[in-house]
């Protein structure tokens, strides 16, 4: 009997059992498929899907970090960032009539032709103008042009302009330091832009802060040791001198003897950091820090200090300098003021090359090299500043006698003006070498003892003699304070030899001589208006700036307030 027959007999349509099983199985399989799919989506692909979902409403916002300000020691701003807008466009989306184009071009401050060129580019993103003022940006926004967008950026302003340009340096369009302090302290000044995840509603308003991915770190403000009043005075005096003597360049460094702070660091020629359209390498160079030169006579005090320290001479020891010439191995050293006999003090005062050379030749090479090295020649100063030059000081084992003799008066060795100023702190601070800093410290710096107090004082007395009438630098004197210092007039090196008519005039000194507070170094490169002696070209700049500095700092007088009587120019003559 078949199943079909049974079904028929009961009056119902009876399907075979396998059909029900089949349908059940199919339904089960469908459920399994769904369950499997959901496990796949929920368990295996969940991260991907959630990410996609979040992307619909959550956004990561960049939190811009403001760059720190650079201030002078009295809190005056030297570099400040203010927000500006950059205007960019999607060229394909922009539809403008000729009149609108004209209007936009005028607002952007560019030519219509340039605007047209930019808008016809085949790119998706083109800057129309970077860094315009927020006010102009608002006007442009009010025009409501399709396809033109704005972006907030920061622009750095330097109120000090050319006066502080070389110290502060500048930043590029991307707000990163490129020169000077801006580059040296990029890390702390720059800060770090942060980012956060937010939920935005349909209209683009932030409705919820999901998480702060990275907190924005505002750049730290930096207070420099520079005193903008002194800096301004120094720059003005230096610029006037460079123009007056038709010199190629000039540099000046003023150092506080107690703290080692650099109060002024000026360079001429300079540039305006706010408008760097036409900028040459010569203007950009921070000569005082990055350029080295043969210092000439300003090095003699160190030679004498070595001799005093070694006990070879005393300030009153007489040295035979007749006839004002000294020939060593085919090379003749000359004196500008030939004398038969000079004491050690007079060698400094009259800037006698022969005398200095004779003293040097009586010294062991190693002792000279050692002192030169310890006052910082030949090594880059520990200063957070890009490109600080180390100068050149050859090892004493390679010195020939003639080199030892010329080195005594500053030839065959090269230093930067900054190194020279630092080295002179040895005489100003009783034999201690003071580490220099461009950042305000406000505390007395601990120096490294290089010379004995007696030697430092003896050299100081000689340096004071050098600015009296009869010395080479009387023009460095100022009314009311005692000054000590040394002139330098070095022939410039050219093509491996010395140029006969190119000089580098310098003056390094400090005041007040009774208790030195300020070391000031001045260098004028290639004065070409006739005068070139350090005592005539550089010393007056020293006097002018030093007087202003001492007055501004309220340093008590240590000399009677009598007008200074100056001798003729002949006294200033020297041959290095």
């Amino acid at each position: 009997m078949s199943r079909a027959a049974v079904a028929t007999t009961q009056g119902m349509v009876r399907f075979p059992v396998w059909r029900a099983r089949f349908v059940l199985g199919a339904l089960l399989a469908a459920f399994l498929l769904l369950a499997g799919r959901s496990v796949y989506l929920q368990a295996l692909k969940t991260d991907f899907l959630q990410e996609k979902g979040e992307a619909r409403y959550s956004r990561v916002l960049e939190v811009p970090a403001t760059r720190g300000r650079i201030l002078d020691r009295n809190g005056e701003a030297l570099a400040v960032s203010t927000p500006v807008k950059s205007i960019w466009a999607i060229p394909a989306d922009v539809e403008l009539s000729a009149r609108e184009r004209q209007k936009l071009a005028r607002l952007l401050g560019i030519e219509v032709a340039e605007l047209n060129r930019k808008l016809s580019e085949a790119r998706d993103f083109v800057y129309l103008k970077r860094q315009i003022s927020p006010e102009t940006a608002e006007t442009i926004e009010a025009l409501g042009i399709k396809g033109i967008y704005q972006q907030r950026e920061f622009r750095r302003y330097y109120p000090g302009g050319e006066v502080t340009a070389h110290v502060v340096g500048f930043t590029g369009v991307d707000d990163a330091g490129q020169e000077g302090i801006e580059l040296a302290h990029q890390e702390t000044l720059g800060g770090r832009p942060g980012s956060r995840r937010v939920i935005k509603d349909r209209l683009g308003r932030v409705v919820e802060d999901v998480e702060s991915i990275r907190a924005a770190q505002t750049g730290a403000d930096l207070t420099l040791a520079i005193d903008s009043k002194i800096q301004s005075l120094a720059f003005g005096a230096l610029k006037a001198a460079v123009e007056h003597h038709r010199a190629k360049a000039g540099a000046l460094v003023a150092v506080d003897v107690r703290s080692g702070e650099i109060l002024a660091l000026a360079n001429v020629p300079s540039y305006n950091p706010n408008n760097r359209a036409r900028l040459g390498g010569a203007q950009l160079r921070n000569r005082a820090v990055t350029d080295v030169f043969e210092p000439g006579s300003t090095l003699k005090p160190f030679t004498v200090a070595v001799a005093l320290e070694a006990g070879k001479v005393s300030p009153s020891t007489a040295v035979a300098t007749a006839p004002g010439r000294l020939t060593i191995a085919n090379y003749t050293i000359h004196d500008a003021h030939p004398a038969a006999m000079l004491t050690t003090a007079q060698i400094i005062q009259k800037s006698s090359n022969v005398g200095a050379a004779k003293i040097a030749l009586a010294l062991p090479r190693e002792a000279m090299w050692d002192l030169f090295r310890r006052v910082g020649f030949g090594t880059a100063p520990e200063l957070t500043f890009p490109g600080a030059a180390s100068g050149k000081l050859r090892h004493y084992r390679t010195w020939q006698p003639i080199e030892q003799a010329t080195m005594a008066y500053g030839h065959g060795i090269s230093v930067s003006l900054l190194q020279l100023a630092r080295a002179y702190t040895v005489f100003a601070r009783e034999g201690e070498l003071v580490p220099l800093t461009l950042v305000k410290s406000g505390s007395v710096a601990s120096g490294e003892k290089i010379l004995s107090t007696e030697t430092a004082r003896a050299v100081r007395a000689m340096l004071e003699q050098a600015v009296q009438n009869g010395g080479t630098g009387p023009r460095a004197r100022i009314m009311g304070w005692r000054v000590a210092g040394k002139t330098g007039t070095a022939h410039k090196q050219e093509n491996g030899g010395y140029a006969a008519d190119k000089y580098l005039s310098s003056f390094v000194g400090f005041a007040p001589a009774s208790a030195p507070r300020i070391v000031l170094a001045v260098m004028i490169d290639e004065p070409s208006a006739g005068q070139y002696y350090g005592g005539v070209v550089a010393a007056p700049v020293f006097a002018q700036v030093m007087q202003g500095v001492l007055r501004m700092l309220g340093v008590p007088h240590d000399a009677p307030l009598e007008p200074i009587e100056l001798p003729g120019e002949d006294e200033a003559k020297e041959s290095t």
Binding site: V80, T82, P159, G161, S232, G236, H557, L561
Partner: protein
């Protein structure tokens, strides 16, 4: 059983309303915070701009020019200046 269910339903509704209000308040507070943060940033930027302006007006060359030119001032003769040491003055 029905009583318990009703109670639980009431609690559930209360919780749901609580959640919604707190969410709403959090969002409101957040937008307030946002606004204040923006304001503080704006003020900071303003401060920077004013500082810049102060520096520009107070430029030493400018002060010097006005002092010597417009106002006819000059630095006193050093002989007429008395420097007073701080410790002695007290």
């Amino acid at each position: 059983m029905a009583k318990l269910n009703l109670l639980l339903l009431a609690v559930l509704v209360a919780c749901a309303i609580g959640l919604v209000t707190s969410q709403h308040r959090a969002r409101k507070l957040f937008s307030d915070l946002e606004r204040e943060q923006n304001r503080s940033r704006e003020l900071d930027i303003d401060y920077g701009r004013l500082q810049l302006e102060a520096s520009t007006w107070g430029l030493h060359q400018r002060v010097e020019k006005i002092a010597t030119g417009t106002l006819g001032m000059r630095a006193p003769d050093p002989r007429r200046v008395r420097v007073v040491a701080r410790d002695k003055a007290r």
